[in-house]
């Protein structure tokens, strides 16, 4: 059986989640490996969510937020950008493959981009293989 990765998507309510909705209503095809969690803003994402996701067996984490400057709360994603950049560096220095974590800015009108990003990210995770470093062994 081929490897089907589990990918956690954390999407901001106003842009990426709506964008995902648009991708759905326009009947765009993208892999089913993504499990989306909706949050109100990308700055609501506690970095521990990401560490925890990897521990609970996620093979990749994709974070979606509004384009900088378009945040529904004006400045939320600008804080999130700095914070998630640090998260990325920490994951990298601890030895996890940097390709397993990705942040994308996807607006509500970019259904196409959402489908593209998910397709590309899934392919990337498939090539990296299962994530075993952080996963809690049962």
């Amino acid at each position: 059986m081929s490897f089907e990765p589990k990918i956690l998507g954390i999407a901001c309510n106003w842009c990426t989640y709506t964008g995902a909705d648009l991708a759905g209503t326009t009947r765009l095809q993208y892999p089913q490996n993504l499990r989306v969690v909706r949050v109100m803003c990308s700055s609501r994402i506690n970095p521990s969510f990401i560490f925890r996701a990897f521990q609970l067996g996620a093979d990749g984490v994709l974070i979606g937020g509004c384009h900088p400057g378009d945040c529904h709360y004006n400045t939320g994603n600008l804080y999130a950008r700095r914070r998630l950049a640090v998260t990325k560096k920490i994951l990298e220095f601890s030895g996890l493959e940097p390709g397993r974590f990705r942040v994308e800015w996807i607006s509500a009108s970019e259904g196409n981009k959402f489908a593209e990003v998910v397709t590309e990210f899934t392919a990337q995770i498939k090539s990296l293989g299962p994530q075993t470093k952080f996963k809690i062994s049962q």
Partner: protein, 288 residues
């Protein structure tokens, strides 16, 4: 030029006595006798008669800024600070945990401090390349100059060159040693959350028993919480009973923060901590 620790000790005593007698400070945070010379202890002088117990020698590594947040707001505190400690004070002022006007900073310009466990000189590793306090009211002794300036990030080079598999193996080995005594958290001047995220039960962020996954969660999140705030005093790794080189990871995060946000922690009272601040023109490249 060598540092006269005796001279600093005398000056510390006279200043502490003067501050306590004049009422400018109601407590003085300094160093006191431990069970032997190599193990001085943090000491709180409250009366002018306590001052005789103050000592200062090359093993007085402790970061006394750790104890500032324990006193109620408005307490007048005098605190003995070395270079890294003064950055901790600045960082606490930035975070509005203490007020500048409540503090009297007794700056100690010093180098050649030693780790009592290994007898190793700690300058190159964990003083951030600084010898003179960044902020002080009274300087005990002359500013020191002429020491070789080392980049605080030099020690990282070997770890940055490792490939990710080796690096993961290294950190896994180190974190698996952790016995979860939380000495790192207790020694850290920036760890003042009550309760700490790891002590919370709802949500339960990580396992509290000393197992590999709980240890990983605790340490990675702690590194994240100290991002842009760690002032590189190295107390976490010296407090660690199983010698995990925590300062390396903290340094790496500090280095990345300095590169990405253009600001080192605790260098100026006017700054805001890097992660509670943003610039509209931060580059998206930092996410790559």
């Amino acid at each position: 030029m060598t540092i006269s620790f005796k001279q600093i000790e005398e000056k510390l005593k006279t200043e502490a006595k003067r501050l306590l007698e004049s009422g400018q400070a109601s407590v003085v945070l300094a160093y006191g006798k431990g069970y032997d010379e190599k193990h001085p202890m943090p000491y709180v002088a409250r009366n002018p008669s306590d001052v005789a117990n103050i000592v200062f020698n090359e093993y007085c590594n402790y970061n006394m800024a750790r104890y500032l947040v324990r006193y109620p707001a408005g307490t007048k505190i005098a605190v003995a600070v070395k270079a890294a400690d003064s950055r901790a004070v600045i960082q606490l002022i930035q975070e509005e945990k203490v007020k500048r006007e409540d503090l009297v900073l007794l700056g100690i310009p010093v180098y050649g401090m030693k780790n009592p466990k290994t007898q190793e000189i700690i300058d190159g590793k964990t003083t951030g390349g600084l010898y003179n306090p960044v902020l002080y009211d009274i300087l005990l002794g002359d500013e020191v100059h002429g020491q070789a300036i080392q980049s605080p990030y030099d020690v990282l080079a070997a770890y940055e060159l490792m490939d990710k598999e080796a690096r993961f193996a290294f950190w896994k080995k180190e974190f698996d040693k952790c016995i979860r005594c939380y000495a790192c958290r207790k020694a850290c001047p920036m760890c003042y959350c009550d309760p700490c995220f790891i002590d919370q039960n709802k949500p339960k962020w990580g396992d509290k028993s000393p197992q590999s996954h709980g240890n990983l969660m605790y340490h990675l999140t702690r590194f994240h919480h100290l991002a842009g705030r760690c002032i590189d005093c190295g107390e976490c790794s010296r407090a660690c009973p199983v010698d995990i080189p925590l300062y390396l990871f903290h340094k790496k995060v500090a280095k990345e923060c300095e590169e990405m946000f253009g600001q080192a922690a605790g260098m100026s009272i006017e700054d805001k901590p890097a992660l509670v601040n943003f610039r509209v023109d931060d580059s998206d490249k930092i996410l790559e």
